[in-house]
Structures are given as structure tokens and as C-alpha cells.
């Protein structure tokens, strides 16, 4: 090997790490993820099936578990569409128009992410609880919001509030408004423009937001725990049911119900990856945000 070859070789090597460093870094990264992500995920299913299929099925078919599953589904079915409509309205006004105070509005929309889940629940107790602002009036009219299903739904809407909006706002801002303006000037109505022009452009971002919103809505614990009152069979969502079973040392049942939620998480991650892939292919940039 000539001197010249050698210097080219060493120059090439110096923009990459040596093989041993590469392997070490990969090992550290995978070890970290194994310890904190893969092992917990695996152990949920391991614990759930540790006493066999029968106990697993019993745990998720028991009436209290079924009513918790039902309440979780109801909660998600109300809160996700509510935040979807809001997200579209917010993104339309913010991305398609110029007005004063826009950046303040965007910050306010993000606010629920900065609030602890427990505090999110607390504010509704202060508002609607027996000693709250509207509490006495509600009691006089025999309306129960706190320690009842409406409170659970409201708290869930609060904690999942920004998910869809903050996905759609940057996406629609990046797309501009030329296409919509063209449609309007060609005589399309506002709704026609939205359904035929805007919606096809944002469909992957929309789905992305809905998936993440749904995962959080079904899994929310802190906020719901504060407003629920933990009435078995009535105001228990799946995460709250898991807590009760766990605190009763009924570990197999707790992990069985938890495994359903873990499955939901896996499905969420799967769809999320698919959506990311599709969005990349169709050239629609997604905004990854926590």
C-alpha cells in the first residue's frame, strides 16, 4: 500500500467510528431500550398468562371488567370526535387566516399538555364538585357530573385536547391556502372546498392525530382517577380497574386487563408507523410531537 492510499483510507475512517465503538454504542442503546421498554412490555403479557388461559379469560370476561371496557370505549367515542371537530376548526382558522393574537392562541391550545393530569381532574372537581362553583346548582337540579360518567368524559377531553389540533395546525400552515383559494374562485362552496381539497391533503396527519388522541383517551389515569370516585361497575375505566385489581393483590387479573391496554398501545404504534410511511410516500409532512 502506498503512502497516498494510506492517507485516503485514514481520512475515510475518520468520518466514521471504529467498528468496536459502533458496536458498543449500538449495544448501549439497545440495552437501554431493552431494559426500559421491551422488558416491561413483554412482562405485561407474561404476568397476564402466568396462570394460564382460563384465568386470563375469566379476568377480562368478569362483569366489572366488561363494564370498565365499555366505559373506556364510550369515553373515547365521545372525546376523540369532540377534539377532532375542534382540531379542524382551530387549524382552519389558524392556518388559513391572518389575525391578531394567533401565536397566543396556539400557546393556549397547547396548555393542557403542560398541566399535570391530577390538576386537570382537580379543576373539574373545583368547578362541578359538591363544594364547587356550580356544584350546589347542579345538586339542586339533581345533575351529577363529578364521580359520574360526564366528569370522566370531560377530564379525558381536557387531557387529550391538543393532540389533533397541534398535528393539523403546522401541517395546514405548511400547505398554504392557494389550493383552497383556487377552488373558491372556481365557484366551490366552503364545505365543498374543505371536503374535496383540504381533507384529502391532510388525511394522514388527521389519522395520526386521531390515533394518538385515542390512545391517550383510553389510557388516561390521573385525571380520570380524580373525578371518577372509583365506583366499581359504574365509574371505572380500564386503567382504574387495573389499579383496583392491583391494590387487591389480584395480580393476574390486573395484568390481564393491563394486557388489553398494552395491546392497544402496540396497535397504536403499528398504525402510527404505517401512517408515517404512507405520509412519506404521498409527500405530506407529518409533525411529530409529543
Amino acid at each position: 500500500m502506498s503512502f497516498n492510499d494510506q492517507s485516503i483510507l485514514s481520512r475515510k475512517i475518520s468520518t466514521h467510528e471504529s467498528r468496536s465503538v459502533t458496536l458498543l454504542l449500538i449495544a448501549v442503546a439497545l440495552g437501554y431500550l431493552l431494559l426500559f421498554l421491551a422488558l416491561p412490555l413483554f412482562s405485561v403479557f407474561y404476568e397476564a398468562f402466568s396462570k394460564g388461559w382460563r384465568l386470563y379469560l375469566d379476568a377480562i370476561r368478569e362483569p366489572d371488567a366488561l363494564s370498565a371496557i365499555k366505559l373506556t370505549l364510550i369515553t373515547a367515542c365521545i372525546s376523540v370526535p369532540a377534539n377532532l371537530v375542534f382540531g379542524i376548526a382551530a387549524a382552519w382558522s389558524i392556518a388559513k387566516f391572518e389575525f391578531r393574537g394567533k401565536s397566543l392562541l396556539i400557546t393556549l391550545i397547547d396548555l393542557p399538555f403542560a398541566v399535570s393530569p391530577v390538576v386537570s381532574g382537580l379543576v373539574y372537581v373545583l368547578l362541578f364538585g359538591a363544594n364547587g362553583w356550580i356544584g350546589p346548582w347542579l345538586q339542586a337540579h339533581d345533575i351529577k357530573l363529578i364521580f359520574a360518567v360526564p366528569g370522566i368524559v370531560l377530564a379525558t377531553i381536557f387531557v387529550t385536547f391538543p393532540f389533533i389540533a397541534r398535528e393539523l395546525i403546522p401541517l395546514m400552515q405548511a400547505q398554504g391556502k392557494e389550493e383552497e383559494e383556487a377552488a373558491i374562485s372556481l365557484g366551490a362552496s366552503g364545505w365543498q372546498t374543505f371536503f374535496r381539497v383540504t381533507l384529502p391533503n391532510i388525511k394522514w396527519g388527521l389519522l395520526y392525530g386521531v390515533i394518538l388522541c385515542n390512545a391517550r383517551a383510553m389510557g388516561e389515569f390521573g385525571a380520570v382517577s380524580v373525578v371518577s370516585g372509583h365506583i366499581r361497575g359504574l365509574t371505572n375505566t380500564m386503567p382504574l380497574h387495573v389499579e383496583i385489581l392491583y391494590n387487591e393483590y389480584n395480580f393476574v387479573a390486573a395484568f390481564s386487563v393491563a394486557s388489553l391496554l398494552a395491546l392497544l398501545a402496540l396497535v397504536t404504534l403499528g398504525i402510527k408507523s404505517l401512517v408515517e410511511l404512507q405520509a412519506k410516500r404521498s409527500g405530506e409532512p407529518l409533525h411529530h410531537g409529543a
Binding site: 475518520s14 468520518t15 466514521h16 471504529s18 465503538v21 454504542l25 449500538i26 448501549v28 442503546a29 437501554y32 421498554l37 422488558l39 416491561p40 412490555l41 412482562s43 371537530v85 375542534f86 376548526a89 382552519w92 382558522s93 388559513k96 387566516f97 391572518e98 389575525f99 392562541l105 403542560a114 399535570s116 393530569p117 391530577v118 390538576v119 382537580l122 372537581v125 373545583l126 368547578l127 370531560l154 377531553i157 381536557f158 385536547f161 391556502k177 366552503g190 372546498t193 374543505f194 394518538l212 390512545a215 389510557g219 388516561e220 390521573g222 380524580v226 386503567p239 382504574l240 389499579e243 395484568f255 393491563a258 391496554l261 398494552a262 392497544l264 398501545a265 397504536t268 404504534l269 409529543a290
Partner: protein
């Protein structure tokens, strides 16, 4: 612009903005303001007494230090994970990449009971530590474990795109001028990802401060030792001590807002550097 809104041919401004403001007020602003009105009825000295009680301060200390430790862990290992995912190829990389988001998708209660089982003295991981007389679950260390899990995606996801944008030419130029690999990282790559790393750190820290579900199962919840502030809010509520719960909530909210402000500043700094 002297008018409130610039002219546009597109319809639906009044409807969409009106609905946005109405919904925002009803769901977020009015309920949150209830917190501050409740505080106002206590008076300053009443609030001060409640917010500086010994048990409250202890819980805030536990929350703060555990969140900080978890965010530091995540900053360090998150940077390595982001680096490995951007720079190297290995089998199963796609699955690993998708798995990083697990803490966003897995309900916190599930994470809590699972981590408690794993890190308990007789758990798969805990028993290795128990052999050396180290307890993780049911101690403040357990809180750090739970908060590390919760915050794991933040640093990885903020650093990843910035790291991918570092141009190979810059690295090559540095290398051809005689910089070793470590020097290139220290002088070229690290300064480029530093703002993103800090943003990820702040996001993970902010999330950890408010976290409740995953922590309560693994913490042991001993007052003054392993009791986090959100748990203290819940126990005050269970004793119908609304004023006490509100005082802690307001303190936490102020910390969260300060962090949100800092994060926005960091992101602004980050994007300015990106476009330069």
C-alpha cells in the same frame, strides 16, 4: 395591520375561530381559572401557609429531584439512542424505532404496575439489585425508574431529526483539517444538536413533574420520602381538603408554565439556528 383580521377570500373564519374560542374557553380556560379563583379566596397568607407546609415542600423536592435525575438519564441515553438510530443500520431497526414511542402509547397505570413488578426485590430486574442490598421499587429510585420510562421518547424524538440534518460535508471538512472523531463530535456535531438536546431534556423534565399514574405504583408513597406532589394533591382531595390541594396545584401549574415558556424559547432558538 390595524384591523383584527387581514382580508381573505376563504370562508368560515368567524365560524371556525368562534368555535375554537368557545371550546377552548369551556374546556380549558374557565376550568383552569377556577383554580386561581379558589386560590384568591384563601388570601395570600393562607396560600403561603398551605404551600410551604413541610410535607408539601418535601413532596415537591422528591418530585423535582426525581424528575431531574430521570431527565438527565434520558438526555444521556436518548442522545446515544438517537445517534444509533440515525447513523447505523442493524437488523430490526424499524421495530426498535417504532418501539421508542411506547411510553406515549402505553397507559401510565400499565407502565406503573409493570415496572413495579420488574423492579421489586423479587422481580426480574430487582432481584439482581436486591442481592447487593439495593432496593429500587418502593423507594425514590423507583420514582426515577418510572419517570425515565415516561420521558424516554422526548430526547430521542427531538434530537433525531436535527442529527439527521447535520451535513456530512461539515464533518468531512473537519476531519480533513485533521480533527479526530471525538473532536468532530465535540466541536461540530454536539454544538449542532445541543439546543435540541436541551429541548428534549426540558420536555422530559416537564412531563415528569406532572406524572402520576406510573409513579404511584412503584414509589411506595412514604410521606417525606417517596411521596410525589401530584399524589399529595390526590390525598388532600380524598380528605376533602380542597384548599390544600389547590395550593399545591397552583404551585405545580406555575412551574409547568415556566417550563413551557422555557421550552418555547428553546424551540425558537433551535429553529433560528436551523435556518441560519
Amino acid at each position: 395591520m390595524s384591523k383584527f383580521k387581514a382580508h381573505s377570500v376563504l370562508p368560515g373564519f368567524n365560524l371556525s375561530l368562534g368555535y375554537t374560542l368557545l371550546y377552548l374557553s369551556l374546556i380549558v380556560l374557565i376550568p383552569l381559572s377556577a383554580l386561581f379563583f379558589k386560590t384568591a379566596t384563601m388570601g395570600w397568607s393562607g396560600f403561603y401557609d398551605l404551600a410551604t407546609g413541610e410535607r408539601v415542600l418535601a413532596s415537591l423536592r422528591v418530585t423535582f429531584f426525581a424528575s431531574f435525575a430521570a431527565a438527565v438519564l434520558n438526555a444521556l441515553f436518548g442522545l446515544i439512542v438517537a445517534w444509533v438510530l440515525v447513523r447505523y443500520t442493524f437488523p430490526g431497526k424499524r421495530v426498535v424505532d417504532a418501539l421508542v414511542d411506547l411510553p406515549f402509547a402505553l397507559p401510565t397505570a400499565v407502565a406503573g404496575i409493570t415496572l413495579a413488578a420488574l423492579y421489586a426485590p423479587n422481580g426480574w430486574i430487582g432481584h439482581y439489585f436486591a442481592a447487593y442490598d439495593i432496593k429500587i421499587a418502593y423507594t425514590p429510585l423507583g420514582i426515577v425508574v418510572a419517570l425515565t420510562f415516561i420521558g424516554l421518547p422526548f430526547v430521542v424524538r427531538t434530537v433525531q431529526p436535527v442529527l439527521a440534518d447535520v451535513e456530512a460535508e461539515v464533518e468531512e471538512a473537519a476531519a480533513s483539517l485533521g480533527a479526530g472523531r471525538l473532536a468532530v463530535f465535540r466541536r461540530v456535531i454536539f454544538p449542532a444538536v445541543y439546543p435540541a438536546l436541551l429541548t428534549g431534556f426540558a420536555l422530559a423534565f416537564a412531563r415528569a413533574i406532572g406524572e402520576y399514574g406510573s409513579v404511584i405504583f412503584i414509589a411506595g408513597n412514604m410521606p417525606y420520602i417517596s411521596e410525589i406532589a401530584p399524589l399529595l394533591i390526590v390525598s388532600k382531595l380524598e380528605q376533602y381538603d380542597y384548599a390544600g390541594a389547590t395550593a399545591i396545584a397552583v404551585l405545580m401549574l406555575l412551574v409547568s408554565f415556566a417550563l413551557l415558556f422555557a421550552i418555547n424559547g428553546l424551540q425558537w432558538w433551535n429553529s433560528r439556528r436551523g435556518t441560519r
